[in-house]
C-alpha cells in the first residue's frame, strides 16, 4: 500500500497505463499547459494537476493539448477509439458536456449498438464534477444523472484514491466507452492505494464501506464520506448503518443494494445531482419494486432541490446535501411508525 492523493491516483494510473499500452492517448484543454507561451510546454499543467509530466514522458503524439473545442475533443476521442486507440479525453469541468453532448450521446454511446455489435469504442471521458466551491450554475454540476440515462455509456464515480486506481485501470482497459467522474473536492484527499499493478476493481460491484443492521444508506462520490460520518455517529448510539458506495452508476449493482435492504428494511439514498428523474429516484424505485416486502419505512432521498446551483456561500450550502440533512433522513426512516 502507498498513501496518495485522489488526484495522484488519477495521474499515476494514466501514466502506468500509457507505459503498458502504446495505444493509450490523452487529450484535452491544458493537459500539457503552456503550449505556445514564453514559459513553454508544461509551464503549468491542467488546473487539476491530473496530467502533470505526461507530455515530457510520452510526447506530443500521445499527449495532445487541444484548443477550447469540447465538441472536437470528444469527437476526436470517438475517432481515435474507433480506429483502435484508447483515448482518455479530459473535460476540465463536467458542465462542459453541454458543448460536446452530441459526440458523447449520439456518437460514442451508440456506435456499438447501432452498428450491430461490430465496433469497439474504448474511450474514457474524464471530468471534474461537483459543487462546494461557489463556482455557481455552470461550473458545479453533477452530471451522472444525465449520463447514466444514456444506454451504451458506463459511468464511474470513485470516492477514494484506491477506488480511483482500481476503477480507472478498469476504465482504460475496458472496450466500451466509460465516463469517469472525479469530484473536485476529493482531488486533495489522501488514502491508502494498493501497489499491486494487477489491482483492478470490476464495474458494477458496490463497496460496503460501513456495515450495520438498521438502515441502508446508498451514495457515491464526495457524499459517501458524509454518509460515513453519519453512520459513525449513529453507531455510537447503537444504530447500525450499511453504507453502500455504488462506485459505478452504470452498471448498477442492484444485488448489493437489495441484499442490504432485505436485512435493514430502511433505505436512504444520498445524491448530489438534482432530484427529478435522478439516481436517488431510480434506486428508490428499484427497492420499491424488488424489495417491497422488506421495507419498514418509505425510502428517503437526500438530494439538492430542483434548481440550478446558486453562487453565494449561504445559498450553495443550503442547496447541497449535508451531514445534518443525511442524519435527519436516517432518523426519519428509523422513527417511522
Amino acid at each position: 500500500m502507498s498513501k496518495m492523493m485522489y488526484r495522484d491516483a488519477v495521474l499515476s494510473t494514466i501514466a502506468e497505463e500509457m507505459e503498458n499500452d502504446p495505444s493509450v492517448v490523452v487529450l484535452g484543454e491544458d493537459v500539457v499547459g503552456g503550449m505556445g507561451t514564453p514559459g513553454g510546454p508544461e509551464a503549468i499543467g491542467g488546473i487539476w494537476s491530473t496530467s502533470t509530466g505526461l507530455f515530457g514522458k510520452f510526447g506530443k503524439d500521445r499527449v495532445i493539448d487541444t484548443p477550447i473545442s469540447e465538441s472536437a475533443i470528444i469527437g476526436a476521442a470517438a475517432g481515435l477509439a474507433l480506429a483502435g486507440k484508447r483515448p482518455i479525453a479530459e473535460l476540465m469541468f463536467a458542465d462542459f458536456i453541454g458543448v460536446s453532448l452530441d459526440q458523447i450521446w449520439n456518437q460514442i454511446g451508440k456506435f456499438r449498438y447501432m452498428f450491430g455489435g461490430k465496433t469497439r469504442c474504448p474511450a474514457v471521458i474524464r471530468m471534474a464534477y461537483g459543487a462546494g466551491y461557489n463556482a455557481a450554475a455552470q461550473h458545479s454540476q453533477s452530471v451522472h444523472q444525465i449520463l447514466t440515462g444514456m444506454p451504451g455509456l458506463k459511468v464511474v464515480m470513485p470516492s477514494t484514491p484506491a477506488d480511483v486506481k482500481g476503477l480507472l485501470r478498469t476504465a482504460i482497459r475496458d472496450d466500451d466507452p466509460v465516463i469517469f467522474l472525479e469530484h473536485k473536492a476529493l482531488y486533495g484527499v489522501s488514502g491508502e492505494v494498493p501497489d499491486d499493478p494487477g489491482f483492478t476493481i470490476p464495474f458494477g460491484h458496490a463497496r460496503l464501506s460501513r456495515a450495520g443492521q438498521d438502515v441502508t444508506i446508498v451514495s457515491s462520490g464526495l457524499l459517501l464520506g458524509f454518509c460515513e460520518v453519519v453512520a459513525d455517529k449513529l453507531a455510537a448510539e447503537g444504530i447500525g448503518c450499511d453504507v453502500v458506495d455504488l462506485r459505478t452508476t452504470s452498471p448498477l449493482d442492484e444485488e448489493t443494494i437489495l441484499d442490504s435492504v432485505e436485512v435493514t428494511g430502511r433505505l436512504v439514498v444520498v445524491d448530489e445531482a438534482p432530484p427529478r428523474c435522478g439516481l436517488a429516484a431510480d434506486i428508490c424505485a428499484l427497492v420499491a419494486g424488488k424489495a417491497f416486502a422488506s421495507l419498514k419505512a418509505p425510502p428517503q432521498a437526500v438530494t439538492p432541490p430542483h434548481t440550478p446551483i446558486p453562487f453565494a456561500r449561504e445559498l450553495e450550502s443550503a442547496y447541497l446535501p449535508s451531514v445534518d440533512k443525511i442524519e435527519a433522513a436516517v432518523r426519519k426512516v428509523l422513527a417511522w411508525r
Partner: protein, 323 residues
C-alpha cells in the same frame, strides 16, 4: 473624429472605474471574503469602453467569464456588481450568479457567461431581433482568443452572415486562453480576424490598448453594421494584467512580461499621455477623476460588505416565473 472634453473625461472615468474595481478585487480576493472563481479584466479596459461608448440600452452585448469590464462599460451599477460578487441578495443577480454571471437586461447586458463560446450564437439571436425591430440596433459578442476556437463561434459567424444579422464579433486577443498561447491554439497564427473574414463578413483590426484606436474603429464598424450591411468582426490586440483566474501562478509568462506590459501597454497611461500631450485635458482633472473613482470603489466595497445576505429560502426562488 475629435471627442468633446466631456466625452474624453467620461471615457477615462469608465476605464478607471473598471481598473480600480479589478485592482481592488485582486486585493479583496486574497482575504478570502469573496467566494468562487474570479477572472479580472485589468489591462483590457480600452476595449470594453471603446466599444460600449457607442451603444445605448437598446443595443445588446454578451460577455464572457471575464465580464466585469463589459458589464461596467455597458452601464451596470457598480454597487450592484460589487454586491453580486460578494454574494449578497442585494446584488445584481441576488447572489445567485456571482462574478461569472453578472447580467442586467435593462442595460442591454445579456450576461457574463461561464461557458466559453456560448455568447456568440446568443448575440446572433439578439441581432436578429434587432433586425426585425428595424431601429438600427446591434448586438455585440465579446470573445477571447480561446473562445474563437469553439465550434459555436464558427456556427454563429456563418449564421450571422447568411441571415445578415446586425451582429459584431469583438475578439479580444490577449494572447492567452488559460495557460495556452494563441500561437499554439489558433491555427491561423495570431490572426483571428481572417477567420471571420473567411466566413464572409467585413473585418477590422486595431490596438486594443489604445482607447482612441478602439473607439475610432468601432465608429466605422458600427456605421457599417447599423446601415444594414450584415455582421462584422474586429480583432483587438490587448493584454491581461492578472492571471487567468485569481490564484494563477502564471508560469507561462515570459521573464519581465508583466512589468513590461504594465509599463508599455497600459491603456490608462496611454490615454493620459495622449490627452495631456495634445492639451485636451490636464493632469489635475484626470487626478481628480482618479480620486473620485477610488472613493466610489471604496464605497461600493463597504456597501457590499454591509449588504444583506441571502437565506436558504432564496435558493428556491426564480427557477421559473410560474410553476
Amino acid at each position: 473624429m475629435q471627442l468633446s472634453r466631456e466625452a474624453l473625461l467620461r471615457a477615462y472615468r469608465q476605464m478607471k472605474v473598471i481598473r480600480e474595481f479589478e485592482e481592488r478585487l485582486h486585493v479583496e480576493i486574497m482575504t478570502g471574503e469573496i467566494a468562487g472563481f474570479t477572472h479580472l479584466y485589468s489591462g483590457q479596459e480600452a476595449v470594453a469602453v471603446g466599444v460600449c461608448e457607442h451603444l445605448d440600452n437598446a443595443d445588446k452585448i454578451i460577455s464572457t467569464h471575464r465580464g466585469h469590464g463589459h458589464c461596467l462599460a455597458k452601464g451596470c451599477d457598480v454597487n450592484g456588481m460589487m454586491k453580486e460578487i460578494w454574494g449578497s441578495r442585494e446584488g445584481l443577480c441576488k447572489g445567485k450568479g456571482g462574478s461569472m454571471h453578472i447580467a442586467d437586461i435593462d442595460q442591454g447586458m445579456l450576461g457574463a457567461n461561464g461557458i466559453v463560446g456560448a455568447g456568440a450564437p446568443i448575440a446572433v439571436g439578439a441581432a436578429l431581433s434587432a433586425k426585425i425591430d428595424g431601429q438600427g440596433k446591434v448586438a455585440i459578442t465579446f470573445s477571447g482568443d480561446g473562445a474563437c476556437n469553439q465550434g459555436t463561434t464558427f456556427e454563429a459567424m456563418n449564421l450571422a452572415v447568411v441571415t445578415q444579422a446586425p451582429c459584431v464579433f469583438v475578439f479580444e486577443n490577449n494572447h492567452y486562453s488559460e495557460h495556452t498561447g494563441v500561437d499554439y491554439a489558433v491555427g491561423t497564427a495570431q490572426d483571428i480576424a481572417s477567420r471571420a473574414e473567411a466566413f464572409g463578413m467585413k473585418v477590422w483590426r486595431a490596438d486594443g490598448t489604445d482607447f482612441f484606436a478602439v473607439h475610432e474603429t468601432m465608429r466605422e464598424v458600427l456605421a457599417h453594421v447599423r446601415a444594414g450591411n450584415g455582421p462584422a468582426a474586429v480583432e483587438f490586440d490587448t493584454e491581461r494584467f492578472f492571471g487567468h483566474f485569481e490564484g494563477d501562478p502564471q508560469r507561462y509568462r515570459g521573464e519581465g512580461e508583466l512589468d513590461r506590459i504594465r509599463e508599455t501597454r497600459d491603456c490608462l497611461k496611454k490615454f493620459r499621455a495622449s490627452v495631456t500631450g495634445a492639451g485636451l485635458l490636464g493632469d489635475a482633472e484626470l487626478d481628480a477623476v482618479d480620486a473620485e473613482v477610488l472613493g466610489q470603489i471604496e464605497a461600493a466595497v463597504e456597501a457590499a460588505r454591509a449588504a444583506e445576505r441571502p437565506t436558504a429560502e432564496d435558493v428556491l426562488a426564480d427557477v421559473y416565473i410560474a410553476y
